[in-house]
Symmetry: C2
Subunit: 366 residues, 2 copies
Amino acid sequence: MKRVYNFSAGPSMLPLEVLEKAQAELLCYGDCGMSVMEMSHRTPEFEAILNDAEAALRKLLDVPQNYKILFLQGGASTQFASVPLNLLSEHKCADYIVSGQFSKKAYLEAKKYGDIAIAASSAGATPTFSTVPETKRSDFRPDADYVHMCFNNTIYGTKFHYIPDTGNIPLVADMSSCIISEPIDVSKFALIYAGAQKNVAPAGLTLVIVREDLVGNARPDTPAMLDYKEMVENNSMYNTPPCFAIYMAKLVFEWILSIGGLEEMKRRNEKKASLLYDYLDNQSYYTAPVDKKCRSMMNVVFVTGDAELDKKFAKEASAAGLKNLKGHRSVGGMRASIYNAMPYEGVEALVAFMKKFASENPKLDA
Amino acid sequence: MKRVYNFSAGPSMLPLEVLEKAQAELLCYGDCGMSVMEMSHRTPEFEAILNDAEAALRKLLDVPQNYKILFLQGGASTQFASVPLNLLSEHKCADYIVSGQFSKKAYLEAKKYGDIAIAASSAGATPTFSTVPETKRSDFRPDADYVHMCFNNTIYGTKFHYIPDTGNIPLVADMSSCIISEPIDVSKFALIYAGAQKNVAPAGLTLVIVREDLVGNARPDTPAMLDYKEMVENNSMYNTPPCFAIYMAKLVFEWILSIGGLEEMKRRNEKKASLLYDYLDNQSYYTAPVDKKCRSMMNVVFVTGDAELDKKFAKEASAAGLKNLKGHRSVGGMRASIYNAMPYEGVEALVAFMKKFASENPKLDA
């Protein structure tokens, strides 16, 4: 069976080498006579998998020793509640930067728990959220418990081109759609979280990287499973963790280390994104609506300007083995998600298809 | 590589046929050119998987039409909070039957949210929790919002031999370690939940079967991901669900349907449990400490009466390919978890080993 190029925004492609290794080990991991899926999380074999996964991620991102790494369930949407439940102090005040639908959802969820304000928003851009807000330190309330942002906006294809200066206020970032796509300076953030289903592993795993001093201050009525302290004290095993997804994450981390770590990953991702953006910038059939300075390296949005043509494009691309190129329903057009596991050849095939489609489908007003 | 008999309490064995099918499809599901792990949850292919999983479970358990089936994350431990957050009314009162460590944990978590009482407990049994409490309707407060129980107690090897009569009070049951092991009358319960990692699928999936009238009454500050209404309205896809675990659950459900449904599953499980309990009842080397009328069909606890011998047993059994027979650290001795996927031959091999071990290791005081 021929594998396709899958441009889905998430869940999304996994490295073929990783899938092949998982397949080979699916009935029997090492010499232990069982699948990772069947393995008690209390065995030395699984504890080694968990510890190896953590060590590999710590190495990849150069995570400082005063940060804990957690392997949780529930996705970023659960963190939308966990963050205020754990980080809001008694006076309960936090500021949100709204740069897309997910940061807006995070803001609305946090409002259940305290005095939450929008410090900056790019909702008013044309088209909406086609850029990220510029912020300065004075945009944030000095007594805010934290500032929340979403670093890469999957739906709109934008990414922060800068790290907001929040002074002493802890900065919290949802990095679901950009984590481990390039090096980041973890120490600039107080907490980073990410759903795994884009760059890390199959859906069902959430990474949390949290500075130690932020752990242990949850509201008393915080569900135990959402309390970072419980998760830290139990090394992510307060209950049975999503073992197989953690194993897959370990394989993905080790794959990145094997090719040269995040510097090499960034080089490959930049090369893929440049191929696509350079083509977009040098023709007039398609438009890339995103502010150039904050273009996402992971999610590339483009439109023909004609909804019917967009529809035809997605349909014919799919038939040609280029899957899931339809843009998010709130944006329309096309979106090519080119995460870590998308090979360069996939983007080459996409650009070739775009050229062919443009020549075969002249616009009526052209 | 030879596969072993894995008696782990969870995660635990999966049917070999299911693992083999998952392995064959791991790089390419059907003709879609990608793994289920890479598939967007918004595609028709994944929606079919989710719908098929739900339909198969509904058929297996004969779930009435006024019950919703949810595929969630976070394990039973998350439900320990979700249940009170969703089911407690304004006067906030619920009764718990405590029959083991997990029902006690559920009780302690619920106490964060209201007036929670222990209606009955078997903690005082000798050994502790070696039986389940007998209850009658008058044990429960008439104004309780619900009564909570754990139907099968994994650690202690007990199972309720009766369904508590709670009158009009909704009965909530944690069935993590016995769901789909035999037919149950779902209509006797208001809500059933179960972590998947014993009888259903790999860890990372939680089943919730909830009567419709209990949905939509969550506290305003309930995290959206713990609010049954959000999950029902979004067909378990408020955010990206644990797609691969749902796919595995579907394969397991279909495997049970293929062998004859839960009547046949029960027959096989009874046959396995009888083999082991009959042996235990007809010798004097090992003791089964559990009250006979509430013996679990899934988790069989036994001891030699000598901690050193118990340790030797688990070690030598492991070397003989009978894995994870060590009892829970709070109970000691041995525990053989013989869930749906454990073949009869595994229990035969265990009994043969028990006989051999007894003959080779005479007790000093015998």
